[in-house]
């Protein structure tokens, strides 16, 4: 299937794996890229040298394109931006801010730049700054979220910019892909479903909790701090929401979540850790290899889109 996104990125299928901190490491990114999608290494809060190692490990496994997601609030963002350019990474997605200061550096290195946007104004600004595409991510997503839904955000962004739009948030199967294409998207980005992939290194407790999760099992913490995060309800979210209700200050809330994603992903502490997942978690029923996930999505999606594409 060809869209502007598959052409720009040089990938077979219009399926991109979300740049999830801790979760999106080299095994998962390599598996998604090898299966014809775009795998992404999530740099999260990691140091630049760690990101370089991850990039090199993906290159050992696949010659296909892959990307790096840079969380711009990472104190080492400048160094990571340079690593990405040095290592010849083909694609960068950015979150938590405005990547414009790296734009020239990346363009010169031939890196395609795809900021994640949560509003029309941000999408327009990124297009003006030279972005090659944008990811319009709705609040159905896991992890850090905006306030608009995918259904509302995607068509409005599509109308506002000329560059291609990738839809994210609440998409986990071929129906989601077809729906996103109907809204004008030219690719989809999936996080939650890939967390449950066979190649995903998240702790078995994390995977089990995700697979067990129902439609209503996620909640949003951090609305009062201006940095809302979606994760699966557990003891931590319960305490966090209680503190928020009582008007706890930022530092007190921070104490609860400092290192909590790592705790869940690496140590399997799904009681006190942060088990980030999207609202679509209820649709994820089993662990599957990335290749199978992508094949299933494409088969179902293409059948649904058959009449129009």
């Amino acid at each position: 299937m060809k869209t502007r996104i598959t052409e720009i990125l040089g990938i077979e299928y219009p399926i991109i794996q979300g740049g999830m901190a801790w979760v999106a490491e080299h095994n998962l990114a390599a598996a998604v890229s090898e299966a014809g999608g775009l795998g992404i290494i999530g740099a999260g809060g990691a140091p630049a040298e760690f990101v370089r190692e991850q990039i090199q490990k993906v290159k050992e496994v696949t010659d296909k394109p892959f990307g790096v997601n840079i969380m711009l609030m990472n104190p080492e963002a400048d160094a990571i931006a340079q690593v990405v350019a040095d290592e010849g990474v083909k694609v960068v997605t950015t979150g938590a801010g405005n990547p414009s200061k790296y734009m020239q550096q990346w363009k010169e290195a031939g890196v395609k730049v795809i900021p994640v946007v949560a509003s029309v104004a941000m999408a327009k600004l990124m297009q003006r700054g030279g972005a090659d595409a944008v990811v319009a991510e709705g609040m159905e997503s896991g992890g850090h979220i905006g306030s608009l839904t995918t259904m509302a955000l995607v068509p409005q962004v599509v109308d506002a910019v000329d560059i291609p739009v990738i839809a994210a948030g609440g998409i986990a199967d071929g129906r989601g892909l077809a729906a996103a294409f109907m809204l004008g998207a030219e690719a989809v980005q999936l996080g939650t479903r890939f967390v449950a992939a066979t190649e995903s290194i998240v702790h078995e407790n994390y995977k089990a909790m995700l697979i067990k999760a129902k439609d209503i099992d996620s909640t949003v913490t951090g609305t009062t701090t201006g940095h809302p995060v979606r994760s699966i309800r557990n003891k931590m979210t319960k305490e966090y929401l209680k503190l928020e209700k009582e008007g706890a200050d930022f530092m007190e809330l921070e104490k609860l979540t400092l290192g909590s994603l790592r705790k869940a992903v690496m140590e399997g502490d799904v009681v006190n850790g942060t088990v980030m997942a999207g609202q679509i978690a209820g649709l994820v029923k089993k662990e599957q290899p990335c290749k199978e996930i992508i094949a299933e999505i494409m088969e179902q999606g293409m059948a649904l889109l058959g009449r129009t594409f």
Partner: protein, 77 residues
């Protein structure tokens, strides 16, 4: 120009009865988050027909800074 700029800010951020001077800072004084700033920039572009590239956002932190920015770009006021 300050008057019209103030109106745009009030409209975009849904605030009223807040004193806005050239020294007013968007983030600290008006509680604007990054998405609010993108909305503001978009509104200023439409109003004044000036292209504001994203790399210039860092320098636009106060009301006075946006006025000076627009004037430097040739906006007459």
């Amino acid at each position: 120009m300050l008057e019209r700029v103030k109106e745009i800010i009030e409209e975009q951020l849904n605030i009223e009865d807040v004193e806005i001077t050239e020294e007013t800072r968007f983030k600290e004084d008006l509680d604007a988050d990054s998405l609010d700033l993108f909305e503001l920039v978009d509104a200023f572009q439409e109003e004044y027909g000036v292209e504001i590239p994203p790399e210039d956002l860092e320098q636009i932190t106060t009301v006075g800074a946006i006025i000076k920015y627009l004037q430097d770009k040739g906006v007459d006021a």
